[in-house]
């Protein structure tokens, strides 16, 4: 048992740190959830790709570095420490790509992954529908079998940055007789196809970061199916697993935000309860880092990530709220001013909601980790 990086891992970290120090923009980019800011972020994504830092854990032939999970964690830690821009490609790279790696045909992988790595194709997710939020099984968008492919109809909503993306992935009901989570198929849909309409709308933190996507009898070929007809539910579950799990929320993000919180507290000479809450947030970030290192040690040794990833999701999302609430309490009357901490607070409130609300995660923990009976609600 140890917590010490190998010389090779330290070398990898140093290379990442060096490149980031030389390339991260001096000033924060405008928000990636506005049209103008999204363009600036795309430039950054392409610089990352050119230097082979956009998808470090992917195979070299797709633009990656074949980096191990350990190296990926190190890269993420350096990325946040450097204050580098938000990854506007994250829905593709962190949510869709793991599913393509697991369920895609070799042809799909070769066609889709390099363009995703290079930020040529920009993917948004189509999980939610007006009648179905966390309850994916309540979807009503349909896919009708036609010659050589499928015709898709329905409405997707809450697709993050959907107005700026080129492609959508999501579930459609391909068996009209089916109910709940049976008879769903996972589709990959270009947003420039005939019959697609995208309408952007605003978020709590004021950016136009969401979109509704209307599909009116949109034709897609058979190659748009990921993982097999009627298999959509189990394919999607794999993706939401990775959204909840380690891959999206690396500890580096919270080590950095709590470090900035300590900086803020020191600048304001905070005493009393606030100081205690600053320490509490920092300790929880440390614990998240150690929990993750323990999990990754198991994964590297061949274990499977299971329902325990719900523990990660509850912990980091509530830590993020605590961190930002504490920052606002420190800022006192200035908390009413619209600036990074107050925006970050509003953004943090989405954490306990998306990718399965924390209520759902707690039920998963109780039933699948602790083994409590499933009867009742």
């Amino acid at each position: 048992m140890d917590l010490t990086w190998t010389p090779e891992q330290e070398e990898f970290r140093a290379r990442a740190r060096e490149w980031l120090a030389a390339n991260v923009p001096d000033r924060p980019l405008p928000s990636g959830d506005t049209r103008e800011g999204f363009a600036a972020h795309l430039d950054w994504e392409r610089r990352l790709f050119d230097a082979r830092w956009s998808v470090v854990s992917w195979p070299e032939r797709y633009g990656g570095r074949d980096a191990s999970l350990w190296e990926w964690l190190l890269f993420e830690e350096e990325y946040y420490r450097a204050g580098a821009p938000q990854r506007v490609t994250q829905n593709g790279i962190f949510l869709l790509a793991p599913t393509i790696f697991e369920f895609g045909t070799p042809e799909q992988q070769d066609a889709l992954l390099p363009r995703m790595a290079a930020a040529q194709d920009l993917w948004c997710q189509g999980w939610s529908e007006p009648g179905a939020g966390s309850d994916l099984a309540g979807l009503s968008s349909r896919a009708n079998r036609v010659d050589g492919g499928w015709r898709l109809s329905g409405q997707k909503t809450w697709t993050t940055r959907g107005a700026f993306c080129t492609h959508l992935f999501g579930l459609f009901r391909s068996d009209p007789e089916s109910v709940r989570h049976k008879g769903l198929t996972y589709f990959l849909v270009p947003l420039d196809a005939d019959g697609v309409t995208v309408r952007g709308f605003g978020r709590l933190d004021g950016d136009e970061g969401f979109a509704e996507v209307f599909l009116d009898d949109v034709f897609v070929p058979d190659s748009a199916v990921l993982g097999g007809v009627g298999k959509g539910w189990s394919v999607a579950m794999a993706t939401t697993g990775s959204e909840r799990g380690l891959t999206l929320r690396s500890p580096g993000r919270f080590l950095e935000s709590t470090r900035r919180l300590r900086e803020l507290a020191e600048a304001q000479g905070a005493g009393g309860r606030l100081r205690e809450e600053v320490v509490e947030a920092s300790m929880r970030a440390d614990a998240y880092q150690l929990f993750t290192l323990s999990q990754v040690s198991d994964l590297v040794a061949g274990a499977k990530a299971g329902a325990e990833s719900s523990l990660n999701k509850i912990w980091w999302s509530e830590l993020d709220v605590l961190t930002h609430r504490t920052a606002l309490a420190l800022r006192g009357a200035e908390a009413a001013v619209d600036e990074p901490w107050s925006r970050g607070f509003q953004f943090s409130l989405a954490g306990p909601i998306y990718a399965g609300t924390n209520e759902i995660q707690r039920t998963i923990v109780a039933e699948r980790v602790l083994g409590l009976p499933r009867v009742g609600r």
Partner: protein, 327 residues
Amino acid sequence: MDFRPTELQRELAAGTRELLDARCTADVVRAAWDKPGTAAGLWASLAELGLPGALVPEAAGGLGLSVSDLVPALVETGRAAVPAPIVETALVAVPLLLAAGRDDLVAAIVAGDALVTAAPAGEPVPWVPGATHVLVLGEGAVLAVPGIRVPAVDGSRPLARLADDGAEELTVAAGDVAAARLRGALGTAAQLVGLGERQLAMTVDYTAQRQQFGAPVGSFQAVKHHLADALLGIRFAEPAVRAAALACDGDPGAGDLRRAVATAKALASDAADQVSRTAIQCHGAMGYTDEYDLQLYAKRTWALAAAWGTAADHRAVYADAVGPAAR
């Protein structure tokens, strides 16, 4: 001993609510985001009802009310998220301007012509643009000149810094200024109670209807218990606000004024903030969009929780005020 609101208090609150249900809908609050400081029509209605000059003696054209008479109506202005300085004008400024002998300005308030905003010295000043006068409370009190605007979390409650010069000192005692600051905290606490009640009601309505996993979201025990907790905070803050109003009016049974106001503002800030976060969580993604009205009230809540002393500030005041734990 009778802690029930009087008939006069209940009627003023009911009249305010009726007016605001009609004239200060969510659409009106939303419109104030685009054009802050344009609530003139709404203000005229409030002036007609007498709210801005409620504490002005009847002889000077006001309603001649006490602080505790006015506070239930201020809860209603919070429930509606009135986008104008009603607490600042009616509760903070009026008694101070009377003490300073500024009868001209008091008359303008009664007539509905003056909108006086106010803030503790050093804090961003709300309701600029919109207000006609800016009152700043430090050791003393000054009428100040607003400077540059700063972006606000709550776009319907715009913020500005002060210009460096042009301020005009008011002739008032230090005690008058301290009392005015306490009234600022009290009025804000009253509005937070109304905001909390509004968001809780919206969330009960939403979760009772919204179906998920084959049942209304509001039938799940976790949601029920979150909302029961939210109600608990608001229900226990509300009497503390009325008691602080009585303390402002000098009711001997209401105890120490600073302790009473600190309790009211700390409990109301924490309770309303808890309601906002619970409401967003229970709305799911719906709570997280600026097209749904909930965010209007959540953002006002966060702005007011930060104004006139945070909950932590007021806990420190309480610790001071309660003094040694003598029997």
